[in-house]
């Protein structure tokens, strides 16, 4: 049976071979350049790459590669309350100091605003506030204050916040610097109209 030469097929076939080689060597920039070289046939080339890789089957990673990847932020399986509490303790930070630094980072200077930061942070660290809803500004600020934790906090926002550990469950009733009766009074009191800064803080925390 005769074989019909087709310049475009040869070109795409060569690009496929080169792209697979770039994939094998982990050269992402080369992969992207080669895919773009296919012009209008880029998507078809990507699909052929996917098909080739699918036919080859899964890789067999080394234990060293597995262990190195497993400790990166995306694989962190801890909840935010665990991460924040551990990181705060590791930094030697008492909660009032962290709250003051957080308010400063967020540009909150009024006493009512700072108090609302304290309340919202308390809710996060005790697992009462969903980290998915808080703003990037708060994640950035916490990441800086807690010493380069930005990537970890960002990667773990979707982790479930419960069930909480016994120590954190205990702290749900109040930190050691918070009077439980004061909290109870606050719950019993009719809600006051929030101030401008309180509303701003609530917005930053996704409340």
């Amino acid at each position: 049976m005769g074989f019909v030469m087709d310049e475009r097929e040869i070109e795409l076939g060569n690009l496929l071979a080169e792209t697979l080689m770039a994939f094998d060597k982990g050269r992402s920039a080369d992969v992207d350049r080669l895919l773009d070289n296919a012009g209008d046939d880029r998507l078809e080339l990507v699909e052929m790459v996917e098909l080739s890789l699918t036919l080859r089957g899964p890789s067999a990673p080394s234990s060293e590669a597995i262990e190195a990847l497993a400790i990166t932020p995306p694989f962190d399986a801890r909840s935010w309350p665990e991460i924040l509490t551990e990181a705060r303790h590791a930094q030697g930070l008492k909660r009032p100091a962290l709250v003051a630094a957080l308010a400063k980072h967020l540009g909150i200077v009024s006493p009512d605003g700072e108090e609302r930061v304290r309340e919202r942070y308390h809710e996060i660290e005790t697992g009462q506030l969903d980290p998915r809803r808080i703003s990037t500004a708060v994640v950035d600020a916490l990441g800086d204050i807690l010493g380069g934790m930005r990537a970890v906090l960002d990667a773990t926002r979707l982790n479930p916040i419960g069930p909480l550990s016994p120590s954190i469950s205990f702290m749900r009733d109040g930190f050691d610097d918070v009077d439980g009766m004061v909290l109870l009074d606050a719950v019993m009191a009719p809600p006051a109209e929030p101030t401008v800064d309180e509303r701003r803080v609530d917005e930053l925390f996704g409340v």
Binding site: M1, F3, M5, D6, E9, I10, L12, G13, N14, L16, A17, F23, D24, S28, V31, D32, L35, D36, L43, V46, E47, M48, V49, E50, L51, S52, L53, T54, L55, R56, G57, P58, S59, A60, P61, A65, I66, E67, L69, A70, I71, P74, F75, D76, A77, R78, R132, R133, T136, A155, R157, L158, N159, P160, G206
Partner: protein
């Protein structure tokens, strides 16, 4: 060739058991192994959704969704490539939301419960199904794909067939195209 889906299912099951037991280090190692098994495919899949830097962002969100799925979901894995394709469309949405400063959510992960019904090449599960697909190829095409699967260098395959590497690449391209078309048209697999 052993069915990779059996090995994958075992990794997922053990990761979830470890997570539930609070053995996070083991859970993280198992999830990392599963991801590395399919990282190349995930890189390709992310490039079906976006280009360049944006494709890398899609890959990041895809990885995050994949890991959360391993740790926190209950459904059994059947086909990792199909699952990654499904997640990639949501990962692209994550990137769009991130760029718009909207919170990233996992509500759509509920959709992963739906079985992957798309009869495309991404539903390949094992060697038997690859063999079934290869039945549409000529002898020469089949040999080229077989040698590729056996990791034989192109220059050696070209020499064996007494053709130029360029021709080898063209034939392989054509063979893969036929396999893909066959996968889309035929009622193969289960």
């Amino acid at each position: 060739m052993a069915d990779p889906s059996v090995y994958d299912a075992d990794l997922v099951r053990r990761a979830r058991v470890a997570y539930t037991a609070g053995d996070l280090r083991t859970a993280q190692n198992l999830a990392a192994e599963l991801w590395l098994r399919y990282e190349k495919q995930a890189r390709a899949i992310s490039r079906k959704r976006a280009r360049g830097d944006e494709a890398e962002e899609v890959l990041g969100h895809l990885q995050l969704r994949f890991i959360k799925w391993v740790y926190f979901r209950q459904d059994e894995p059947r086909n990792m490539i199909g699952l990654l394709n499904q997640m990639a469309s949501y990962a692209y949405g994550d990137v769009q939301r991130h760029e718009a400063s909207q919170p990233v959510t996992v509500e759509e992960i509920e959709d992963y419960r739906q079985p992957h019904t798309d009869r495309t090449i991404s539903t390949i599960l094992d060697r038997a199904e690859i063999d079934q697909l290869m039945s549409v190829l000529s002898n020469r095409e089949r040999l080229i794909i077989e040698r590729d699967l056996a990791d034989v260098p192109d220059v050696e395959v070209a020499a064996e067939l007494e053709i130029e590497p360029n021709n080898l690449h063209q034939i392989r391209w054509r063979a893969l195209k036929r396999m893909r078309e066959a996968a889309a048209q035929q009622e193969w697999g289960s």
